[in-house]
Amino acid sequence: MMAKKKDEIEYVKNGKRVDGRKVDELRPLKIEVGVIDRADGSAYVEWGQNKVLAAVYGPREALPKHIQNPYKALVNCQYRMATFSVPDRKNPRPGRREIEISKVCSEALAKSIFIERFPNTKIDVFVQILDSNAGTRVAGLIAASVALADAGIPMRDLVAATGVGKAGGEIILDLNKEEEDAPDAVDIPLAILPGTEEIVLLQMDGLLTKEEWKKSIELGIKGCKQVYEVQKEALRKKYGEAEKETAKAREPSAKETKPKKEEKVN
């Protein structure tokens, strides 16, 4: 049987999308913190079919010296796709797309970091896409931000991100590849600092009216906040456990101050 033509697909039918999601539903998202031993900070993200590794090295001396900024750290995020992460083998040389994505992601992350505290240094953030299905730059960005937190770098907030856009005339959250290939598709990668809702990354391509944009940004910010919760939970899982252990270690001394009677009651 021949696959349905793109303009015959119903992208949202009875409130359900091609993969069964609701219009405002993210694909399953899983984040693991601290997955690369040698790195100062790292994270692994699985978001739908997307699989991303991010590692942070630094702040370290920026070299050669002439690239140093005496007022702030340089943030160098490098986004790369593995050759096998796309249907046809990708040329291993970084393409123009990867260079542009690296630039906008570096800029988005820089806003979240107190870069002015680390003059003359460089913070390297390496993002490697291992498997892809639309939305890899936002997956890379949330992995990078969690890795920066894991590296203990002082930050204003995490960078939370998601894709949002349009397919088959409907505004939907977190487009997958099939939706991104719709004839009227609009793709909007969006990243914010959730605390203040400041927009640190915003791109768009495809035809969109002003009203559709308003709906998209509304949905996009909601999506980012859901992602933010998963990011915090992942960090809590690594550092919250450690905190509990510290608390446990303190417990006996705390008990000592209490009268013995109460201890029995407990």
Binding site: E107, L202, D205
Partner: protein, 259 residues
């Protein structure tokens, strides 16, 4: 020494913008004077030189015969490229394009491509065999900021006058043409700088050096947005983005009328 002078210029630009004024006397939402000269190259299929204040950029189109992509057998394609040509500024140099030049190219390309103003099926000569590839190449000539918008106007002007070469037996007949390149819309890019928490359109070089963040909005026509790009290390609020969109529609409409 040069740096010190630029620092002073940046300081005074920021000071003025805080008061709602600009170094060259423009309103915050006002473009510099746009001057377009068409047909500057005989060999190009279409060409234009655009002066946006002192910023100058040249665009030329060439139509090349090619084979279609496997997944779009009945479609040709376009490719927009921009180079930060060293003739334009002491900070540009020859060599492989840096991230800034790649971003400029891709943002101008997206603005045109995503407007769907060119039906790629019109660029098909023989299905599955031969199609047109439209190359639009931009060369910076003088840098006084905002190559994004100057480049977008230049690319569009050059495309609007592009002639399609005549093809006989699968080959281009030199100096003979079969028609003009069809464009159903006039997509335009409007770029904004955020300086001292104020939004200014069409930043000059000094204003670019002063900006915390940059935002480009491409409008396909008076009703549709077709591309965004946020750049630099600062951030935008939602209301600032909406303000940019409003101004982009307004200014886009005005410029579109003159093309």
């Amino acid at each position: 020494m040069d740096d010190v002078i630029w620092d002073l210029r940046v300081d005074s630009a920021v000071k003025l913008i805080k008061e709602g004024k600009r170094i060259d006397g423009r309103a915050l939402d006002e473009y510099r004077k746009i001057d377009i000269q068409n047909h500057i190259s005989e060999t190009a299929e279409g060409s234009a030189i655009v002066n946006l204040g002192k910023t100058r950029i040249v665009a030329g189109t060439k139509m090349i015969l090619g084979t279609p992509y496997p997944d779009s057998q009945d479609q040709g394609t376009i490719s927009v490229g921009a180079e930060l040509f060293p003739i334009a500024s002491p900070s540009f140099e020859f060599g492989p394009p840096k991230a800034a030049a790649i971003e400029l190219s891709r943002v101008i390309d997206r603005g045109i491509r995503e407007s769907k103003s060119i039906d790629f099926k019109d660029l098909c000569i023989t299905e599955g065999e031969q199609v047109w590839i439209v190359f639009v190449d931009l060369y910076t000539m003088n840098d006084d900021g905002n190559f994004f918008d100057a480049g977008s106007i230049a690319a569009l002007s050059a495309m609007l006058e592009t002639k399609i070469p005549k093809v006989e037996d699968g080959k281009i007949v030199k100096k003979e043409y079969s028609g003009k390149l069809k464009l159903s819309k006039k997509p335009l890019l409007c770029t904004f700088a955020k300086i001292a928490n104020k939004i200014v359109i069409d930043p000059t070089l000094v204003e670019e050096k002063a900006q915390d963040a940059r935002f480009s909005v491409s409008t396909a026509d008076d009703k549709h947005l077709c591309a965004f790009q946020k750049g630099e290390q600062g951030s935008f609020t939602r209301s600032e983005i909406d303000e940019c969109i409003e101004i982009a529609f307004k200014r886009g409409k005005e410029i579109r009328k003159t093309l």
